[in-house]
Amino acid sequence: MASEPFEEEYISDIGPPHYEKMLPPVIKKNYGKWAYHEVVKPGVLVHVAESGDKLYTVRVGSPRLLSIYTIRELCDIADKYCDGYLRFTSRNNVEFLLTDESKIDALIEEVEKIGFPVGGTWDATKAKYGLSNIVHTQGWIHCHTPAIDASGPVKALMDALFDHFKNMDLPGLCRISLACCLNMCGAVHASDISLVGIHRTPPSVDDDVVRRTCELPSTVASCPTGALRPDMKNKTIKVDESKCMYCGNCYTMCPGMPLFDPENGGVAILAGGKLSDARSPARLSKVVVPYLPNNPPRWPEVVDTIKAILETWAAEAKPHERIGEWIDRIGWEKFFEKTGIEFRVQLIDDFRQPRHTFRATTQFRW
């Protein structure tokens, strides 16, 4: 399906390098023939092939935003211990792949020396779970729509939760994610705990910018709640503020109507989502705190709230039980009681047909 190249020598549409080129020999040999794995210690996995071959993985936490100079340092380590093979995980950790068990400790020492911690693994057999990296987005480093920064809150949180990254001391898997706006570039909508940047005031329309840069009909149509009306006379857009729930979709369509409001924007916390189908089905995260202030550089309210959720769950959950599963067992009313989070009216759904989120039973706890 590739189309014609533009000119004779113009290389395009070649796609990524074939994955085989990137695989260490032990993987090529045992591809698809792994027998089992074990967690050697926090941060270190061994995968054993049917052939008996062993592949060790050392998992290393990463800020995701990496300078090429750091990447080269990581490559140096991989060259030294891993015959030049490494990978990244779906949660942005770095994984060193090696076959020689005896090199593991030296590798760990070296990588930690340059500031990269080893950890983030979990051991289902022993029901000991480490906290992994926080999946996150661009924030103020690159995006035009963020209500909050991304890398900053993640750094603050990982510092606060660092022991759980190192120690596999949680009862179940706990995935934390962050997105800097409701576009939610990531799996914020399906994580055990997540934080998302939110706006709380309607767009600030600059008629001039709207006139210059926006297509009125498609912008008006972009509002899911019908809060926008074209003002044909002035070739701009009017916002019915009572209908706006600050999703920012209009701003994505039209640069003339940003929603930024430094003192009112902030963070919503979601909880209880999961992606795996292990035990209970995958499910969406639910908003548990509608708003916390946007408080750089360390977002203490956010960090405290997330710690409260995480530590309450960690103290109470049964082995393997994730946050959503724990809530299934104890009920939402107890979740709010135990975590000390105030139940606010904003948590009650009022978007589209919210009826399946209302309680239609007298079953509840006191």
Binding site: M1, P17, R279
Partner: protein
Amino acid sequence: MSNEEFPLLSDLKKGPWPSFVTEIEKTAEKKPEMRDLLKQLERSYEDKITYWKHGGIVSVKGYGGGVIGRYSFLAKECPGVAEFHTMRVNQPAGWFYTTEALRTICDIWEKYGSGLTNMHGSTGDIILLGTTTPNLQPCFNELAKNGWDLGGSGSALRTPSACAGPARCEFACIDTLDICYELTITYQDELHRPMWPYKFKFKIAGCPNDCVASKARSDFAIVGTWKDEIKINQEEVKKYAEAGVDIKGQVVDNCPTKCIEYDEEKKEIKIDNSNCVRCMHCINVLPKALKPGDERGATILMGGKAPILEGPVMSWVIVPFMKMEPPYEELKELSEAVWDFWDENGKFRERLAELIERVGMMAFLEAIGVEPDPRQIKEPRANPFYFWREEDLKPRTDPWEIWRKAEKEM
């Protein structure tokens, strides 16, 4: 940098977790214009607002995507980041790398860009973070010459991604890397030339553990599974038990359908596979003893997406089971059927889930040629408000005729 200059950011250099501030700083040592990134960022930290302007269309020759244009409101104060476009480079399936490959990328990006990256973006690409408009084309040319290509952006196919799968996981029921590569290569045109109502994402997970978040983050999720019986190695069950694993508490009691029996004496497991929902839990806990069956394939789920516009969606089972063998003809036919339908019926900026909901699952399944199956639903509808087609019906009769005849009688 001195802490006095960027006090807020400097605070984020402290603490045990590796710091993105340190990364930027490190880059700024080699590439002084990156001090302007710190400067702008510090200003954002002070003012609690982004200083990046809205959008900006930039690209490389022949492509409609792969580059995210970005301009600063602080162009005067921070000229080093006045233009700061991102290039999305299509990662190798499964994010496996040789150091050689990585070094090549680093070298090119040192030459043409900021030296900052994200390893990786949420969709899966290698994100080369920040360059100027003039640098885009030469950078791309050099990437291409070295065997790299851009990923997707805009209303196009997005870079497919896959979990480690058979490369490093005993649970993989399908060849995630190969499927990922095959789809990416087959659909280069769809990836590079936005021609659809909106974005479209593939993700491929080797088993229901879904280590690549496919169910939440892709319009078309391919998740490995199996149809036959879980393979049990009773010797290994015994060993786990002897090693102290509480098989009753950890495994049996956590099985969602309670279809496992454990004989405490014999230390043997029995599974009623007709009631197993293939959730993976028992296999996860006892990987040496239990394995997915031999009749392997994938469940295809569709519609996963973030909340804008109609609320977040976890993707929905469309094909409960499909064999996954190269060259994946059935899979490709299915995706093409979906795109045809979407092309024809989708509105501007309408994701697949929203389209399906708008036109109805019946119309969608019929269009893509998939049979209805109770595995597609959590539960049947509670409202008896459904459609019939002419072919389902007998010839119509008119009530007025019946009544008028009756009224006239006698």
